[in-house]
Symmetry: C2
């Protein structure tokens, strides 16, 4: 189904709050368990991975070695549910709309609060997400088809290998946005300025070159058309670390549910260099 | 004929001077009338167009309206052969290795000194040239095939129309460099930082989209191979203003000879913003 909505698709159909803090308070209260696309415009959102301390150092090294798919915004102290760099009044156990709980790589349950699962050895990783560069692209006059059509962005497993660390290894996942060559050139410039939200694209053009067999069959998200005269543009995707963690089958792990992110107090503009 | 030279092809086969000023003194003496590729590394070089004052205002507006193909580095006062913004001891009548003299769009002669042709109404325009962004590309680890093969870059007339001013109008000429998609992405970032030497590319990929019928038949310069897995990347080219001036058939005009540029005292780094 294609829903055409002029302007920002998300505003018509999701939670909107004035600030990251206001969004987190609504989410903490349990009133909103849905996606955060368009929530608190201009505030940075992040992907969440929570791991036991025994694995946290390996995962930290994995992120350091793979900054494009895993741009780390913050890492917590073990057992501490706060992330003061991302917001003063922030509790990682309650402030995400929905969490996925994994044991040995198996999805066990989806919950909206993880206080009952909290352990003194858990470390939280918050990783930049492409929501923070989509608004600058739109602001630069570059239309994004999946936003116009109210769909999730198309994501693909590639043959680009991440640099391994400990048990963490596997292919990079990319998101794809079709655009004219002139807009692709401008999109490189706009996104190169935000390395903490994946930065410049990793590939342009031919999908086969990075191991994508069929653009119309994404591994995650929704397919969108690539029109004549357009080229597909591929960015490293924050689904990569989740995919890598699932492959490593840690004894225990918690992530956010897809599209239901942590909303922080950072402004998108704070991530850009000029 | 393909001449393969490792490293910088130009150093082995052209004039090399320590500074722009030193290069101009050698050229002024008449000792060097050849190309300036690789001459005075890291010093900005420029394309030259000299027009009678009656046409100069139209041409100035043309450059203002078409900054990508016509990035103006300096404009002289009428009748003044100096360009102090580009070098203290600079005489535009003697400091270019070779000049082309045109009347009503016809090439009349090629000379190495234009003092005998100088008039009190002549205005000099110096326009940025892609030499100034090729070194940063090479420094960024992006190989340029025409440099490796000791050839001139391939240039093409396109169907991209310039914005007209007075008698000046016509298609944009582009230069093309083949590279991997990953290098194309980095090349956008590197060249976006130097808007005074054409800036970011104007097109990527399919040549037909900008009216190029056959990449192996450039309108100017030498063809180079586009290898499997590479994409052609197109930049606005300083041949555009020359092409446009010739179309306008001014009663009198002087340009530099192709590849034989004005070497200035500006450093390439002075043109970059960060």
């Amino acid at each position: 189904m294609v829903t055409k909505i002029s302007g920002c698709a998300q505003e018509a159909q999701g939670l909107v709050a004035a600030t990251g803090l206001a969004a987190r308070h609504i989410i903490r209260s349990g009133e909103w368990t849905g996606h955060t696309s368009g929530t608190a415009p201009h505030y940075v959102q992040g992907n969440l991975v929570i791991l036991p301390a025994a694995l946290a150092n390996d995962f930290l090294r994995f992120c350091q070695r793979n900054p494009k798919p895993c741009p780390l915004l913050a890492v917590s102290e073990p057992g501490d549910p706060r992330l003061p760099r991302l917001g003063e009044d922030l509790d990682i156990r309650t402030d995400v709309p929905a969490y996925r709980v994994w044991r040995k790589g198996e999805l066990i349950e989806e919950v909206s609060d993880i206080r009952h699962l909290w352990r003194e050895d858990l470390v939280s990783f918050v990783i930049g997400c492409s929501f923070s560069f989509e608004q600058p692209l739109i602001d630069a006059g570059i239309p994004l088809r999946h936003v116009q059509e109210g769909r999730n962005v198309a994501m693909y497993r590639t043959n680009i290998q991440t640099v391994p660390a400990g048990p963490f290894h596997g292919p990079m996942v990319v998101s794809m946005r079709p655009m004219s060559p002139a807009n692709a050139i401008r999109a490189v410039q706009v996104t190169a300025r935000v390395p903490q939200v994946h930065g410049a694209p990793v590939h342009l053009g031919d999908p086969a070159q990075i191991g994508i067999a069929d653009l119309q069959k994404p591994d995650f998200g929704d397919a969108v058309a690539v029109l004549p005269g357009e080229m597909p543009v591929y960015w490293a995707c924050g689904v990569t670390p989740q995919s890598v963690v699932m492959e490593a089958k840690p004894e225990f792990c918690i992530t956010h549910s897809p599209g239901k992110m942590l909303v922080t107090d950072l402004l998108d503009g704070e991530l850009a260099f000029s």
